[in-house]
Subunit: 329 residues, 2 copies
């Protein structure tokens, strides 16, 4: 087994760690992932005991780490004060070539910080960006950046367009991805200086650029890749999460009021349609390694999906395609 | 009747103008608004014929205008080339003291532009902001700015906090409004320079400032007023509109699949809960006059609600309270 095809899973990160992460690793194996592809990173005793409880270790390799970075810790401070945290050790495994991917449900800022500093950016990439795939229209839409780069330059946004298009092609089977720029109106002149510059540069980028799109277009299938700054992307993602939860509670209330026996199935079906963990979480694009950031609230299924996303990103060689795609022609 | 208590309604603006606007004016009268408080602005012949069809003019005054600014026209260009448009004439009526409020379902940019240039800002106000009230938790939340000020300065955001709090107190009956700053994390250090500066200034503002809130907090009742730049606010509003429509279609599909006889009532109930036109549209706060911007897709009920909002803003003397509230103590 080429160590570069292995996935380092941060067993200690996330709200329900380590239980959920171990369950997720086993679920991924059940779904077909070779156990030898998984490198479980965390407290060795905890992991061994956890696997024992779950019927034994099916063949995972273990990598011991000594510390855990909490979900609420300040990333920069935590990375400095805990150099042997599971996030740091898993990132180190990718850096040293012992794994090709790092999957964590832990502190997003710490995962991004460790990857940016430890793995460095891919040749030609100016700034990494977090890509999240959502699906509302029967067709996935990839939005980036979701928070890695809060004050980007226009050329960063253009690179996000390229990286998002490659992601969309390699991992979502979209062969001719259309790229849109999130803005507050369709006209070229709308928005901030950043967006006007990015609009002009995207028009010359060789991408299938459909121009500005508005918030509501995310639900209309207008494009396959949505480019935005990390501030707006992060607000939008959390807004959608919050709104989806709110709407589902509202629907639940209405179904209960009307005594619908089929309420639970309807809710489960609706929930699945607005649940982006179906896509395995977010991919940090542009760093020299595959980095998947799951939601802190991930359940075992979401962890398994995150591992699947990492495996597919390695197998499809997304990063090589990004490097090739960003090379000046 | 003091002419300053009158409302100039742009009869020609909106997707279903003039029909919807005339229906809305009549609905407002039915709900208790004195016909003498309404000044209908638009093509006189069209308005007279429209009222005739609807059983006659109950006592509205008419003000003739010659042109209409289309929903898709560029505001600055349209305002220059059509100085006698219904938006310009209605704004002029407020400027000249023939009315105290302008209500339009027309081109938002043109309404804002006409008001900013024609009415000027209130004493002490640096930049006007668009406030929209939404309700997801049984308690209204006012968000501003929704698009008037795309690149604000920190002091503009602080003023939005003050104006939003006064709006919330005067028109929504919230006696101790809590003000939050839309950001991508709770810590003071989060976000852009703009937000860090605004956070510090809001802390010293005398407002009940609860600190940074995230996108998902809009659905949790964390605060009564949400301050944000016009770009983020506009993206967020359109995202929520699009998402609400999408979720309702999804729920509709599930109800149909399960053959629920009570589907339509459930949908109507859900729709009402996510429909911000319940609150009569957006209020442009900080200009010397009351300006209500309705949604282009407003129906008669939404128009009536917008007229009601304008009447209440005049009666509550919101603008005098804003001027007093912004005075240095």
């Amino acid at each position: 087994m080429d160590p570069k095809t292995r996935i380092a899973l941060d067993v200690m990160g996330g709200d329900d760690a380590p239980a959920c992460n171990l369950d997720g690793a086993l679920a991924a194996v059940e779904a077909g992932l070779a156990p030898a592809r998984l490198l479980l990173v965390g407290d060795r005793v905890t992991i061994e005991a956890g696997l024992e409880e779950r019927g034994g270790n099916p063949g995972f390799e273990l990598l011991h780490s000594e510390d855990v970075i909490g979900m609420e810790e300040k990333p920069a401070v935590a990375l400095r004060s805990k150099p042997r945290s599971s996030i740091a050790v898993a990132t180190g495994a990718v850096k040293q070539g012992a794994a090709g991917a790092h999957v964590s449900m832990g502190n997003t800022g710490a995962v991004v910080g460790a990857a940016t500093v430890g793995l460095k950016t891919l040749p030609g990439v100016r700034r990494p960006g977090i890509a999240v795939t959502i699906e509302f229209t029967g067709r996935p839409v990839t939005v980036l950046d979701m928070g890695a780069n809060v004050v980007p330059k226009p050329e960063h946004l253009v690179q996000y367009g390229h990286m998002g298009a490659i992601y969309s092609r390699d991992l979502l089977g979209c062969y001719a991805p259309r790229v849109g720029l999130l803005n507050i109106g369709e006209e070229d002149s709308k928005g901030t200086d950043l967006l006007r510059d990015a609009h002009a540069q995207l028009g010359d980028s060789g991408l299938d650029f459909v121009g500005n799109i508005e918030g509501g277009d995310l639900f209309k299938g207008t494009c396959d890749v949505v480019v935005t700054d990390g501030f707006t992307g992060n607000v939008a993602l959390k807004l959608m999460e919050g709104f989806a939860g709110f709407m589902l509670r509202m629907v639940h209330g209405e179904l209960e009021k009307n005594g619908a026996a089929w309420g639970p199935e309807v809710l489960a079906s609706l929930h699945k349609q607005v649940d982006y963990s179906e896509y395995g979480g977010a991919l940090l694009l542009g760093v020299n390694g595959v980095v998947v950031i799951g939601h802190g609230r991930s359940d075992a299924r979401a962890v398994a999906n995150a591992l699947d996303l990492a495996a597919r990103a390695i197998d499809a060689d997304v990063n090589a395609h990004i490097v090739a795609g960003l090379e000046p022609v």
